[in-house]
């Protein structure tokens, strides 16, 4: 790679989420709902010349054992409304909302994203997600009704139809497909970006194919170098089949980070943060999520539960279960035996580890290394604190990336597509 010019890094900021990554017990932890917190994080990201600011979505509060999960931050505002307000207090920062394609209709959502794109001067992005469980469906007219395979079929047709609405001129859209039979025209001209930027986050084979066909950005979860490189190569390889070039899809893993003056201090701080993220009650909640059985009497400071998980359990609702629970339990038991860990220590070890830990110089070098070696095109940073969790990164790491010549020192374009180096889509 000696002759290749340095890749430019793309950075985004994720508002701290409603999960245990977000530490609310810290005295510096502020409101997760007041606008001032969103303003602080977005303006910090813009000061750091980030590509975009990212909001996740949840349409039903998480439950375990039939009750609302109470150990993590709970509650968030409606994303598109917050982003419209943030458009008033930022000038260049991209504004990305996660919105479910299952519990919305294309006409209305295309109109809402076109409105955000107009009102922000071309800065809108849509992270398309497709959950369709009956649990979430209890809050919606449609209910839960799609099986896993149909979710992407619907999402693909949904995005295609949204693009038709964005592109349509005076004649409007006449669309007849397996999922949607509609006819109409938006009350807005074509958005400034042509189409708002489309982000996709699924990691399954269908998800990767959907990304290759449709997305501008992939929000991936592969935060080690080798995993990132494999994912990067796989998804970029799929693009050719859709007549797309590797540059037209940016891969941005979600990552966490811990900074301090020295690497040793950062490591110490990372351990303290992990303990704050995973308390004894959260340990039990994590075990229950994998085991699918009530473990409220389990001692977090003892070994893992002796019983096997129930793979068909509905004990925990509103959270994605990753992988086969029996396999996860086997792996956890192996790690616990090898390192002689209690349940609490094991959950800290396996779930809380931050992606980048070190001094600003170390973290800047790591990030650059990942990007130059094609494990990513950039990162979506997930701070653990609201609203100050991004401050140190922007003040410490961003200037070092700029010195390395791998990150912009100022915005050169006006729209999010400009920041991401994506072309204005042609009208179909």
């Amino acid at each position: 790679m000696t002759d290749r010019p340095l890749k430019q890094i793309h950075l985004a900021a994720h508002f701290p989420g409603v999960n245990n990554t977000t530490v609310w017990s810290d005295p510096a932890s502020g409101s997760h709902i007041e606008f001032a917190s969103f303003r602080h994080l977005a303006q910090t990201a813009e000061r750091g010349k980030f590509d975009f600011f990212f909001l996740a979505e949840g349409l039903r509060l998480r439950e375990s054992k039939g009750r609302i999960h109470d150990l993590d931050v709970v509650g968030r505002p409606e994303s598109i409304t917050v982003l419209n307000a943030l458009a008033a207090v930022t000038e260049r920062l991209g504004l990305a909302a996660t919105v479910n394609a299952t519990f919305n209709e294309p006409y209305e959502l295309a109109r809402r994203f076109a409105s955000l794109d107009h009102l922000s001067g071309g800065r809108a992005a849509w992270n398309v997600v497709t959950s369709s469980d009956a649990f979430t469906g209890e809050n919606f007219r449609r209910g839960g009704y799609l099986d896993r395979a149909d979710r992407y079929t619907r999402a693909a047709e949904f995005v295609q139809l949204a693009r038709e609405f964005w592109d349509a001129g005076e004649d409007g859209v006449r669309h007849r497909g397996p999922q949607f039979d509609v006819e109409g025209r938006l009350s807005l001209p074509r958005p400034p970006q042509g189409h708002p930027v489309v982000i996709q986050a699924g990691d399954s084979d269908e998800g990767r194919e959907f990304a290759a066909a449709t997305a501008d950005v992939v929000f991936s979860r592969h935060s080690t170098l080798a995993d990132g490189q494999a994912f990067h190569a796989d998804v970029k390889r799929r693009l050719a089949a859709y007549g797309r070039k590797p540059d037209e899809l940016k891969i941005m893993p979600g990552v966490t980070f811990v900074l301090a003056d020295t690497d040793a201090e950062a490591a110490e701080r990372a351990t303290a943060i992990r303990r704050a993220q995973v308390g004894p009650q959260t340990t039990i909640a994590f075990l229950e999520q994998v085991w699918g059985v009530d473990l409220s009497d389990h001692d977090p400071d003892g070994p893992l539960p002796a019983v096997d998980p129930d793979p068909d359990s509905a004990l925990v609702q509103g959270r994605v279960r990753h992988g086969d629970p029996l396999a996860v339990a086997r792996r956890w038991r192996a790690v616990a035996a090898e390192k002689n860990l209690t349940s609490h220590e094991l959950v800290i070890e396996l779930t809380g580890r931050q992606s980048f830990i070190g001094s600003p110089a170390t973290v800047a070098a790591q990030i650059d290394h990942f990007v130059q070696n094609d494990a990513a095109d950039g990162f979506i940073l997930v701070p653990h604190l609201t609203p100050g969790g991004l401050d140190e990164f922007v003040d410490g790491v961003v200037p070092l990336l700029q010195e390395r010549g791998v990150f912009r020192t100022d915005y050169t374009g006006r729209t999010l597509r400009d920041h991401l180096g994506l072309p204005l889509p042609g009208r179909r």
């Binding site: 609310w24 017990s25 709902i33 007041e34 606008f35 949840g58 349409l59 039903r60 509060l61 609302i68 109470d70 150990l71 993590d72 931050v73 709970v74 509650g75 968030r76 505002p77 409606e78 598109i80 409304t81 917050v82 419209n84 307000a85 458009a87 008033a88 207090v89 519990f103 919305n104 209709e105 006409y107 209305e108 109109r111 809402r112 076109a114 409105s115 955000l116 107009h118 009102l119 922000s120 001067g121 209890e138 809050n139 919606f140 007219r141 409007g172 949607f180 039979d181 509609v182 006819e183 109409g184 025209r185 938006l186 009350s187 807005l188 001209p189 308390g279 004894p280 009650q281 959260t282």
Partner: protein, 359 residues
């Protein structure tokens, strides 16, 4: 001293192909700031799912305006037909958060075949059915706003609990068009419940009213904090307002809609006509909603000429005395319908401690 007027205005631009600024966010902020100089209670922005007139989503445009204004209430039309009540509830709730307690909701329904086809979910329905559905949507939204008690967030480090889940509630609404389980994903908004505004015409209240009109009145009586009342003349307005107040109670604010023949303010003669209308006694209403003809010109006239004249007559506030739209309207902040009745004993030892933690 006479009772002060509740004044509001529409920000909608008139139909014109070269009408500037509909997609320029600065346009709405400039208008809302003029309304704020006139110390209006609130501004409205209309919306629908029709292709014409060309305009952005109204709630989006007013959210975009919220950080650029400080006091004026922001009331977008949000349609209850074809939309998800859960999304509507959290969007209006969030407008209240980003405006720090200035959100309202002008309830609308979608009556056209073209809008129904844009969604492709169901055919257009009769207006009485649409307003019955709208009433259900407002009921769901209000239950969801209440579904988090005000002090649900406790951040209790000793037990590791962020919330007291006994203070979050399922809403369990079931109706002919939708059922919603809840609770909301968004905590209770600053106003407790954003201000619900329903448009009613005097004809809706007449003995020979259409089924749609009757359903609209029923929605207003059951749910509205503010009614925007259309009436052809003062006598009809008085009887309609009296009728509404008898049926809905004293806490309903009734604002008469003035169309552009009165609220267009090109010159001093127009000022005099409008002032005569606004200062007339015995109208039966609490104030007015002005449908401006040229929003930039007319809101500037309101701020520069009409508001000072009303202040001199003691009919309009000199400056805002409250922070929220409910404050401006003189409406109390409602307690959550799910909150347990307060203990009769004054010794409620946890209350101050919890309030401290949640700040």
């Amino acid at each position: 001293m006479p009772r002060q007027l509740h004044l509001s205005a529409a920000l909608d631009s008139p139909e014109s192909p070269d009408s500037p600024g509909r997609f320029d966010a600065g346009h709405y902020a400039a208008l809302a700031r003029l309304a704020e100089r006139a110390t209006l209670d609130f501004v409205t922005l209309d919306d629908s799912f029709a292709a014409e007139p060309s305009r952005p989503d109204a709630l989006a445009a007013l959210a975009r305006t919220a950080p650029l204004t400080g006091r004026v209430g922001l009331v977008p039309t949000v349609t209850t037909t074809h939309t998800e009540p859960f999304h509507t509830s959290i969007s209006v709730n969030t407008l209240d958060w980003v405006s720090e307690g200035r959100a309202g909701w002008l309830v609308g329904v979608s009556t056209t075949e073209a809008e129904a086809r844009a969604f492709g979910r169901r055919p257009v329905a009769p207006e009485d059915e649409l307003w019955a559905e709208a009433a259900d949507a407002v009921e769901v939204a209000a239950r969801l706003w209440d579904s988090w008690e005000d002090d649900a967030e406790i951040r209790d480090t000793a037990t590791g609990r962020f919330i007291d889940r006994d203070k979050l509630h399922y809403v369990d609404f079931e109706g002919p068009h939708f059922s919603v389980r809840g609770p909301s994903i968004t905590p209770r908004p600053p106003q407790g419940r954003p201000v619900v505004v329903v448009p009613v015409t005097a004809a809706d209240l007449a003995p020979d009213a259409s089924p749609g009109g009757r359903a609209r009145v029923a929605t207003a009586i059951r749910h509205a904090d503010v009614v925007l009342l259309d009436a052809p003349d003062r006598a009809t307005r008085l009887s309609a307002a009296t009728d509404l107040r008898l049926r809905a109670g004293e806490s309903l604010r009734i604002l008469a809609r003035l169309d552009a023949t009165l609220s267009a303010l090109p010159d001093r003669a127009a000022d005099e006509r409008l002032l005569a209308e606004l200062t007339a006694t015995g109208t039966g209403v609490d104030g007015f909603h002005l449908a401006t003809a040229d929003p930039l010109r007319d809101l500037a006239a309101l701020a520069d000429r009409i508001a000072p004249a009303l202040r001199a007559a003691g009919l309009l506030r000199d400056e805002y005395t409250g922070r929220t739209l409910r404050d401006h309207l003189g409406l109390a902040r409602p307690t959550s319908r799910y909150a347990a009745a307060p203990l009769s004993s004054p010794a409620a030892p946890t209350a101050p401690a919890l309030a401290e933690v949640t700040r």
